[in-house]
Symmetry: C2
Subunit: 475 residues, 2 copies
C-alpha cells in the first residue's frame, strides 16, 4: 500500500508542497485529457467502493503517488463526470482553469475571514468583487456597497443558504412586530417551478410546511408565475388570518428555464409588504438578456450562482441585499472573543453576520481570479455559446419528426426540453420517453435528465465548459 | 494592467491548466517560505483595498502573472496570516500540504455529489472516511455505517451547519408529536461557555431567542456544565409549560477548553427525552485523551472539525448521527428532476438530505488525502505536540511572577489563559491586560485574543501547523 516511515512528513514545507502539488496538477491535467473517453455517468453498483478500500484508516502515511493511483483505479470509475463535454444533466457546474487556480489560492492561503479583523483583505475583496458582479448584471445601486444606500453583497456556498438567511431576516422583522407566537402565521410564496431549496429553506427556518405555497403555473404563461395568481393566493391567506412573508421569483427555472415577470410580481410584493427575493440564472450579464431583470429594483434581495454557468468551481453563490442591516439583526452574534475596535466602531463589514456559519472560505479570491482571468468579454461569450448550442440542438430535434420540442420559453437560455412522440395512438408517451432516457444514459455517452411539468419530458442542459457544437450534434 | 486579447483563453485545456497551476503552486510555496517574516495581524486600515483596486471588472482578460503580482502587492498585506507560526488567536485553522492537495483534487474533479447517482464515489468515499474517523475517535458503532444500526456520518462545512441540521431534526420530531404551534414552547440548553454558533443556530431554526438557555458555569467546575444545573433549569422550564428539546455539551470549549461531563449530562438528557449533541475538539484521537468522550454512547449526534487542529484546510466538519432517518425526515426533498432507481430503492445515501444545501463540495476527498498522507500516527503526534507547547508556555508564564495562569483545566488541550497581575492595589487589572494585548498585537509578532469568564484574560491557542517550541518561547 506504499506506507512510509513516520519521519517523512514536513508540514507545509515549501519544497515538499511544490513538488507534491506538481504531481497532483499533472494528474488533473491528465484527467481533462481523457475526460471525453470516460462514461459520463458512472456505471458502478451501490456499495462498490467499500469492497475496494480498507475499513479503517492507515497508521502509517502513504505517498502521494500511492494515493493518486488509488484515485485512478477506485475513485474515477465511480464518478459521474460533470465536466465531460457530454454532460447535459441537472444543471451545469462549470469548472475552469481560472476557477481551479482561484480555489488553489483560497485554500493555499487558508485564512478565515469571518470578521474584517480576522483578515481584512478577505472581507474587502469580497465587497469589491460583489460590486463588480453587481455592475456586470446592471443591478441597481441600492444593491451595491458603492451605491452608498446601505446595500451590499456577500458570497455564500449555495442558493439554499442565501434563501435561508434572507428568510430568517424577513421572519425576524415580522416577528418583531407581531411577537414570537406569530411564526405559525407566516406564509412563503413561490411557484411550482421554483427550485425546491426554497421550500426546504422555508421549513428549515421554522415556517410550518403547510404555510409554503407552490403556486401552480401553466404552459399558457410559459410556466411563469402570474401576478394575479400570487395576489389571489395572498388574499386567500389573509382571509384565513395568515400573514404573507416572502415571495421568491425566478429568472430561468431549473426544469424549463421559465422567467417570472419581475416587475409585476415586485409590485404585488411591495403592495403586500412581503420580502421579495429574486433567484436568477446567469444570462443577465449579456445586454440582450438584461431585460429579464427589469423590476429587480423592487426586490429586497437577489441571488445568482457563479458555480453554475459562470466558470467558477463549486461552490459559489452571490447574494445581494438592499438592507443588510436586516440580515445582521437576525444573524449577528457578538461574543467577547470576537470583539475588536474596527467592528465596535461599525467601520467594517463582518461577514459572519451575513451568513449561517462562523467559518468561511475565501471565495472572493476564486471569483476575482475567474473574472480577471477571463474578462467580462469572455464570460459573456461563454454564456452566448451555451445558449447557441441549446438553440442548435432544438433545431435538430425540431427537424426530426419523431420528436416534439416542449416549452418554447427556454430558448432564451441554455436548456432544451423535448419528448418522443407516440408512434401509434394509445402508446404510453411517458413510458416511451422513460425507456429512451434509460437507453441513452446507459450508453456511456450523453446524460440527460427528466422533468415533469405535468408530463414526462427529456431535458438537455448545455453549458459544460468543454461542450462544443460537435458534441451536441453527435448527441 | 496586463490585459490579453480575447482569443488566448483555452477553457480547461490540459496544458494551460498544468502551466498556470505550476505558477500558482510556486507562488504559494513562496508564501510559506516568507510567512514567518510577515506581520501576523494585518496592519491595514478599513477601506484600504478599494483605494488600490479598480471599481469595476475588466473587459479583457488578465494574465495569471499580473493577477499574482496584484495579490502580492495588494492582498497579502491585508491578510491576517492564520498559518503564521506566531498565530495564537481565535482557534487553529491548520493547513497542511495534504489538505491543500486534497482540496486541489476536489476542485479539479469538480463533481457535485448531492445524491449517490450524481457521483457515487463522492458519496461512498464520504461514508468510508466518516467510518475511519469514527473509529479513530473510538465512537460507538451506533454512529458508524458499518455498525449496521442505521447510524452514520456526513461532512458539513461548519459546526453551525451541523447544529442547525440536528436542531431541525429534533424540532420536527417534537412538532410531529405536539403540532406546529408548539415551536414557541421548545427550549435549547447549552452553557455560557458553549460556542455561540449554537445560540445562533437555535434562533435560525425558529426557536424563540428567549428559549435558549446559556446555563452559567463557574471556576468550581472548571467552567463545565454540571448535571444539577441542567436538571434544575429543565425543571423550571417544564414548570412554566415549556418543553426541553436539545442539549449541547462540549469537549474543549473555545474560550478556556472546558470539558463538560458527557456521561452525567447524557443521563439527564435521556431522562428528559431531549436530543443530546456533543461538540468536540480534536484531542480524542489520542488514547490518553479518549476518556473525555466517555458517555458519548448516550448522544444523538457528535460533531468535530478537522479544519481546526486536524491539518485539513478550511472548511470541514464531521457530524455523526445515531438516527440519520431523523435528519432525512426533516431535510429531504424529492423533486422529479432528482429521481433515480438507486434512491427510490433506498439502496444508497443521498447526502443532500443530511445537510442544508443541494450543492456540495467533494470534501471527503480532502479528508481522505489528509488521513492517508499523514497516517493516524502523525495525526496523533501533531495533536500531542500542540498540547505540549501549550503546557510549556503555561510553565513559562507560571515562572514569571508578573502573571497569573487562569483556568487550570485547559492544560488538557492546546490552550493557555493568563493575565497580568495588578502591580499596585487598586490598579484596574482588566484595563492593564487590555493594554498589554494591544501592544502585543501591534508588535507584528504574536496575536492572542481575549476572552471573559467574568474577568478579562489573555488567551494563547497553540497549534498552527508551523508553530514550534522556539516560537512559543520567543512569545
Amino acid at each position: 500500500m506504499g506506507s512510509l516511515p513516520l519521519d517523512t512528513l514536513h508540514l507545509l514545507d515549501p519544497d515538499v508542497l511544490a513538488n507534491e502539488s506538481r504531481v497532483v496538477v499533472d494528474f488533473i491535467a491528465d484527467y481533462y485529457r481523457d475526460i471525453e473517453q470516460l462514461p459520463v455517468r458512472s456505471q458502478v453498483e451501490p456499495g462498490y467502493l467499500s469492497k475496494r478500500l480498507p475499513d479503517s484508516a492507515p497508521y502509517l502515511p502513504h505517498s502521494i503517488d500511492a494515493i493518486l493511483e488509488d484515485i485512478r483505479e477506485d475513485i474515477i470509475p465511480g464518478l459521474t463526470h460533470w465536466q465531460s463535454p457530454n454532460f447535459y444533466a441537472y444543471f451545469q457546474a462549470n469548472a475552469s482553469t481560472a476557477g481551479f487556480l482561484g480555489e488553489m489560492l483560497c485554500s493555499g492561503l487558508n485564512v478565515v475571514g469571518f470578521s474584517w479583523i480576522s483578515s481584512p483583505a478577505a472581507t474587502e475583496l469580497e465587497g469589491i468583487v460583489m460590486d463588480w458582479m453587481g455592475k456586470m448584471l446592471k443591478l441597481p445601486s441600492s444593491f451595491l456597497f458603492s451605491g452608498g444606500q446601505g446595500g451590499g453583497g456577500v458570497l455564500h456556498g449555495s442558493t439554499c443558504e442565501a434563501v435561508v438567511c434572507t428568510l430568517a431576516a424577513a421572519r425576524d422583522r415580522a416577528l418583531g412586530k407581531i411577537g414570537a407566537d406569530g411564526i405559525t402565521k407566516l406564509v412563503v410564496y413561490a411557484s411550482d417551478q421554483t427550485h425546491f431549496t426554497v421550500q426546504k429553506a422555508s421549513k428549515l427556518i421554522g415556517i410550518p410546511p403547510s404555510n409554503f405555497r407552490a403556486i401552480p403555473t401553466t404552459a399558457a404563461s410559459g410556466y411563469a408565475l402570474t401576478p394575479d395568481s400570487v395576489r389571489s393566493t395572498m388574499e386567500a391567506d389573509i382571509a384565513k388570518g395568515l400573514l404573507p412573508l416572502y415571495l421568491c421569483a425566478t429568472v430561468g427555472t431549473t426544469a424549463v428555464g421559465a422567467v417570472d415577470p419581475l416587475l409585476e410580481l415586485g409590485k404585488v410584493a411591495n403592495e403586500y409588504g412581503v420580502w421579495y427575493h429574486i433567484d436568477a440564472a446567469y444570462a443577465g450579464i449579456c445586454p440582450e438578456c438584461r431585460h429579464h431583470f427589469d423590476g429587480v429594483e423592487l426586490a429586497d434581495s437577489f441571488s445568482m450562482n457563479p458555480h453554475n454557468c459562470f466558470l467558477t468551481n463549486v461552490d459559489c453563490c452571490c447574494l445581494w441585499v438592499r438592507s443588510p442591516a436586516a440580515l445582521v439583526d437576525s444573524l449577528s452574534t457578538g461574543p467577547e472573543i470576537l470583539k475588536n475596535k474596527a467592528s465596535d466602531a461599525k467601520l467594517v463589514v463582518d461577514y459572519k453576520d451575513w451568513q449561517i456559519a462562523l467559518s468561511r472560505h475565501f471565495r472572493a479570491m476564486k471569483l476575482w481570479v475567474v473574472i480577471r482571468r477571463h474578462g467580462v468579454a469572455n464570460l459573456m461569450e461563454h454564456v452566448r455559446s451555451d445558449v447557441a448550442m441549446a438553440k442548435h440542438f432544438e433545431r435538430l430535434v425540431a427537424m426530426d419528426r419523431r420528436f416534439d420540442v416542449v416549452v418554447p420559453v427556454p430558448r432564451k437560455f441554455a436548456l432544451g426540453c423535448f419528448r418522443l412522440k407516440p408512434r401509434f395512438q394509445g402508446d404510453d408517451a411517458s413510458e416511451l420517453n422513460r425507456r429512451l432516457l434509460e437507453v441513452v444514459n446507459s450508453s456511456r455517452q450523453a446524460f440527460f435528465h427528466t422533468m415533469v411539468a405535468g408530463i414526462f419530458v427529456i431535458r438537455l442542459a448545455t453549458g459544460a465548459t468543454l461542450t462544443e457544437m460537435r458534441h451536441v450534434e453527435a448527441t
